[in-house]
Subunit: 332 residues, 2 copies
């Protein structure tokens, strides 16, 4: 296409929109995207069909370790993975702001296509809208994923029992810290990258472990928010063992400097698993075999109190409250 910036005419259903879709999306999303169809056929293997949807408004659109396109694929695939499913098809909605660079839209589409290909899942349908200047954020995406899982797999918050162990597949807070530093001009530099990545291998490895109860990816609200989900659903407590929770040193440093708690910061390539006590060792070994070198057993479900508690390095204990104010808007 000739244009260097997106205009309102790219959203009108006519020739400019067709060129934008052909040159920016179909080109990178491959043959799986037939733009002449109102609805795209998908072939589902045997199993229980599940569906998930997510919006993405991350700012900046590009950050160390990815961009909104790869993030959208990982976020959606990971919601399927933690539900115990294999992804079958993705759909993508883009809401573009007038004036955004076509080259940026192309980079996002390319990252989206590459991430989907790496996960082995086709993008089968899409839509593009253009809004005026000051009515958007450059590029917003909304993705939906369809997956299929073993119908005999019974995972969920309802399966959790007192005494169960919590594991995390890797360090926490990387994505939130990387996006925050990419956005603000704190003058801070460091080895900070988003952890945005698919959780398919980790999910497959854990599904082979008898005693797996529940998996969730700690995105918005981070590890603490997943633990609060467990507390609210079970009526029991969660005790996290602070010294065992992996936090990379540059993340810990930035959080200490800026007053953030890494346990509340978004991860986009980690999962939290709850497993029966006897299965904790096997689950840890499964995660490590799936490439999660920093996986760790980090806590326990306790009968009472129905709170989230953190034991500290010094042996003390404090409550972690549910998130209220937003520490970091537009993190995913």
């Amino acid at each position: 296409m000739d244009a260097t910036h997106v205009s309102l005419a790219h959203g009108n259903g006519g020739r400019f929109m067709r060129e934008l879709i052909d040159d920016c999306f179909r080109r990178y999303l491959g043959a799986s995207l037939d733009t002449d169809l109102d609805a795209a056929p998908i072939r589902l293997p045997a199993g229980e069909v599940v569906i998930t949807t997510d919006g993405f408004v991350v700012q900046p659109i590009e950050f160390p370790g990815g961009n909104i396109g790869s993030l959208a694929v990982h976020g959606t695939v990971n919601d399927l993975a933690v539900a115990g499913a294999e992804p079958v098809a993705l759909t993508v909605n883009a809401i573009l702001e007038e004036g955004v660079e076509v080259a940026l839209v192309e980079r996002v589409a390319a990252a989206l296509g590459a991430a989907a290909a790496a996960c082995g899942v086709p993008v089968v349908a899409g839509d593009t809208k253009v809004v005026g200047r000051g009515e958007g954020g450059g590029i917003y995406l909304a993705t939906t994923g369809v997956g299929v899982r073993d119908p005999t797999l019974h995972l969920g918050l309802g399966a959790i029992e007192v005494g169960d162990q919590l594991l995390v597949s890797g360090s926490v807070g990387d994505h939130g810290t990387a996006v925050m530093l990419a956005r603000e001009s704190f003058g801070l530099r460091g080895d900070l990258h988003s952890d945005s990545a698919p959780l398919l291998a980790a999910s497959r490895a854990l599904r082979a472990v008898a005693g797996l109860r529940f998996m969730r990816d700690p995105t918005r609200g981070g590890l603490a928010t997943v633990c609060h989900d467990v507390v609210r659903a079970t009526g029991h407590g969660v005790r996290l063992h602070g010294p065992t929770i992996p936090v990379r040193p540059p993340v810990a440093s930035v959080c200490a400097m800026l007053g953030y708690d890494p346990y509340y910061l978004a991860c986009e390539g980690r999962l939290v698993a709850v497993v029966a006590t006897a299965a904790a060792g096997a689950a840890l070994a499964a995660l490590r075999s799936a490439g999660c070198a920093d996986a760790a057993i980090i806590g326990t479900v306790v009968a009472t109190p129905p709170r989230l508690m953190l034991t500290t390095d010094l042996g003390g204990e404090r409550f972690l409250e549910e998130l209220e104010d937003d520490p970091l808007p537009r993190i995913c």
Copy 2:
């Protein structure tokens, strides 16, 4: 919830977001929406599974005849209907702008839930994001629909032959005109309402007609853009018979005054069908039996030239070009 306006904290994954989702979305979208799941199970009847996705950025958010919530359901269900499918499940993404009234979000969620219920399709999964002031448009939605169709039904642009007849299920331009007048202060009043409505009954009636080749809903770019899709895909021409195309008098008046062509304006509750010549009468009768009182046979696929032509009231003929500039941004 206590808040009267949406704040950034409503998007953070914590307590405020949970209250917003419970009070504004789950309340109106019913028991089908389990907000404790990362991915929702769906049960698919036998048939070919199809999927479609759409973004909605209409401005104003509420207009005569609907709001962005009902529009999103109709738009998505209609993409399934024109593909010959019955809807099975919907997912919804909301991108809310900081400062938007909670009461407006509730009205949109209520309309969305009512429209989905009227179409008999559950909303099974959703997501909400909040962006800062000046980074959104109040409420944007992105919906995805899954449907199932008869695998022996072969509809598509590729099935169209020279001599085929075009039908439209009702008057054109109502949605575009109604939204335009709701947005601008032209001082014009009139009996103008969006045609936003489901096309399920019309699609079912047409599917029973032997000789049905293709259906599409003329949304962005209107009737003329669907005809251009036919021209581009077939390499043949389309001749529309102007006097037979239903345009309601207030729509024609407003278009004449403001210089818009109703054939390019969005409809959100109409379908264009292409059928074999011999089937045109049966297709028209089928549409009327499905409640489409103003349905009409409006044109013919001709061998040459590969252009869209309009015969006028006076017997003349002119070409209708493909849409380039956007006459009406944020119409759907």
